[in-house]
């Protein structure tokens, strides 16, 4: 299954490094990534493949969210289907 990792918050050095390091730590493979900075607001969206996840989904999601909090950014991990069903007919 694939999940969408969203990282939002105030822009600063090292956000991408932190988020991708967390993905690597749990075996989540980043297959696509897009990132924008609007004014000082940072928004990154990563599509990750979770086939090789070294832990269960919930632990991965909780840990990466916690790591985000420590860097003062909001990180959410959600199954890609919620976006597909909402925005595609």
């Amino acid at each position: 299954m694939k999940a969408v990792v969203t990282v939002t918050g105030k822009d600063k050095v090292g956000i991408i490094a932190m988020a991708s390091a967390e993905c690597a730590k749990y075996g989540a493979n980043i297959v696509d990534i897009s990132q924008t900075v609007m004014k000082e607001y940072f928004a990154m969206i990563m599509l990750v493949e979770l086939e090789g996840l070294s832990t269960d989904f919930r632990t991965f999601a909780e840990n990466i969210t916690k790591a985000g909090k420590e860097s003062s950014v909001d990180i959410r991990v959600m199954h890609e289907d919620i976006f597909n069903s909402m925005h595609k007919i």
């Binding site: 969203t6 897009s34 969206i45 989904f57 999601a61 289907d81 919620i82 976006f83 909402m86 925005h87």
Partner: protein, 452 residues
């Protein structure tokens, strides 16, 4: 790759605008539990419910984590208990309510609905005994919801039942007087009750339903309110389109969760209920949507038209988003559960009469309305008869959930807590309708030609 804007829109809806799945409700048939031995009936019911819904809460929690959307309530609806326990005495029904309560506690669900009777044309001995048991059942349990269908478009209105329900509501209020008569918040009187409604307090598992089923109720007044506000001063066609588009998106999430919950539980998926269900939280209000359409305050002139537009657009957007739609599907206007409605009542803009008019164009009816504790049973029956007539004449569901708050009067406020919220006590007319209510018998079913 997904569009960045789309992804951020979804996140904003969940994080800032209170988008959630209001309820995943498992319907469970209890017909196979029927026994002439009350103890065996109780054991079978407890076993069937706890077996069928064993994984309901844990699966919902898994789905919340996977999809990142809150599922606020996990609930159960059962076959109307008056049918399953038709041989029981009122005391037997009270005991059965206790059994349901025990099952709810074992499973960790928020409510079990279906302590219900269908008496639109007349009451069987079982139905009459269940109705007698309602006050004690609701005052001795926390998680049990009760509903009574007193009318239908085909059968007319059972005015004996309407009269009786006025008395039952009074007794329920009295028995729960220590907690602002909260028992009445778990009791609804219906016309044309749906058989697949996932929302409380009116949920039951109808006789034409499969053995078990998953029904989902979506929410999202906050999301619609923001979309309407951002649409600005557009014309009505554009306004309706805005609501339709957002209703589509909200319902798609409900459809996804319903299908996924059903698959993981190995239970058929029934319906998605398209209702906009408010909560007392800031920014989660149906009244706010109407005010964003251009009303200075909900309840003023234009409110019924605004609500009619909203209700219709929600259905149109939602129908395409889901393969099966059912339940109540529309906008809810429970007073105590909607901050904008509470404000409008406090300031005197929103009256009971206006609420009644609004119920002619949206789902449900006079919902979560606190009235003075010294209101007579006949007056409550009069309120029920009026509201039920709207449903019967217009071939739609209507319902009454009023709370005569013992010891309180106009100017006071009742506190129900949690999602049930708080409500100012609304004034009623002092003139009696007792002679009318006491006539007894049935109001005949309406004619459906010569429409005007």
């Amino acid at each position: 790759m997904l569009n960045t804007h789309d992804v951020l829109e979804t996140i904003k809806m969940i994080r800032d605008e209170n988008l959630d799945i209001r309820t995943v409700t498992m319907g469970i048939s209890l017909f196979d539990c029927i026994s002439d031995d009350p103890e065996r009936l109780e054991t079978r019911i407890y076993d069937k419910i706890t077996r069928s819904a064993k994984n309901l809460v844990s699966v919902c929690e898994e789905l919340e984590a996977t999809y990142g959307i809150p599922i606020v309530n996990k609930r159960i609806s059962v076959t109307p208990i008056s049918l399953v326990g038709s041989g029981l005495s009122p005391d037997g029904f009270v005991r059965l309510a206790g059994v349901l309560e025990r099952a709810a506690n074992t499973l960790g669900v928020n409510f079990i609905g279906g302590f219900s009777a269908l008496v639109q044309k007349g009451a069987t001995a079982g139905a009459a005994n269940l109705i007698e048991a309602i006050p004690e059942a609701l005052s001795t349990t926390e998680h049990i919801c009760s509903s009574v269908n007193v009318a239908s478009t085909k059968a007319g209105i059972n005015m004996d039942a309407v009269k009786k329900m006025g008395e039952i509501i009074k007794q329920t209020a009295y028995l729960t007087r220590e907690r602002d008569s909260i028992g009445c918040a778990k009791l609804v009187v219906f016309a044309n009750i749906p058989e697949d409604n996932p929302f409380m307090a009116g949920a039951l598992h109808g006789v034409g339903e499969p053995d078990t089923v998953i029904n989902v109720g979506v929410s999202g007044p906050g999301v619609v309110a923001v979309a309407v506000r951002e649409a600005g001063d557009c014309d009505f066609s554009t306004l309706a389109d805005t609501v339709k588009k957002i209703a589509f998106k909200i319902t798609r999430v409900g459809q996804l969760i319903a299908a996924e919950a059903a698959a993981r539980l190995g239970v058929p998926y029934g319906i998605v209920d398209l209702s906009l269900a408010p909560t007392p939280a800031k920014g989660d209000s149906v009244a706010e949507i109407l005010e964003n359409m251009g009303l200075e305050r909900c309840g003023t002139h234009g409110t019924t038209a605004a609500l009619a537009l909203l209700n219709d657009a929600v259905k149109k957007g939602g129908v395409m988003a889901s393969s099966h739609v059912g339940g109540l599907s529309g906008a809810f206007i429970p007073v105590s559960e909607d901050r904008g409605m509470i404000d409008a009542v406090r300031r005197g803009t929103l009256s009971l009469e206006k609420l009644e008019a609004m119920t002619a164009v949206c789902s449900v009816g006079l919902d979560m309305i606190a009235i003075p504790g010294d209101t007579s049973a006949a007056t409550i029956s009069g309120i029920i008869a009026d509201e039920i007539s709207i449903g019967v004449a217009n071939t739609k569901t209507t319902a009454v959930r009023v709370i005569p708050v013992v010891g309180k009067g106009v100017g006071d406020s009742a506190e129900f807590g949690g999602l049930l919220g708080y409500a100012p006590i609304m004034p009623l007319h002092g003139e009696s309708c007792e002679r009318f209510i006491s006539r007894g018998g049935r109001i005949p079913a309406p004619i459906h030609s010569l429409k005007n």
